[in-house]
Assembly symmetry: C2
Homo-oligomer: 96 residues x 2
Amino acid sequence: MVLLRQEIGSALRARRRELGRTLREVSADASVSLGYLSEIERGEKEASSELIASVCRALGLRLSELLEVVTEHAASAETVTTLPVREPVVQAASAA
Amino acid sequence: MVLLRQEIGSALRARRRELGRTLREVSADASVSLGYLSEIERGEKEASSELIASVCRALGLRLSELLEVVTEHAASAETVTTLPVREPVVQAASAA
């Protein structure tokens, strides 16, 4: 199952790393504890919408920009989870 | 400020109405109380990622499909809300 908090967390982490910023810096800017931000990035905690907005601001990201990344990633994750269902068909074809 | 729970709530409500389904039907399918689903649709409660996934399933919607709608709507909401945000910056500059 593709979970929204995991998709949001990994998109936030990717963006932070892209900017070369530390958890400490971003957590300070977003007024959230370092440990909590880390849990959010790892998809372990559900962040409130206000907190997501605050972290987005700290990362210079619009909510819609974050969601664009999240949507794309969720779409490929959903495709991947669907793939194994098709595999046996391919194997059967090459074996024939 | 554009809040994720409000965007998700209105997208879920729009989809449910599109299908001509009642809150009662969808809440039963998603194993969530009618009152809680209603609060989620109105953007008053943060739904857990598992609950969002469950409501999506009840609505025959992939998470990425929901997010696509949410992303588009957030982007237009930001365009509308972004305009007044720039004003104070101009005022601060002219006051200095």
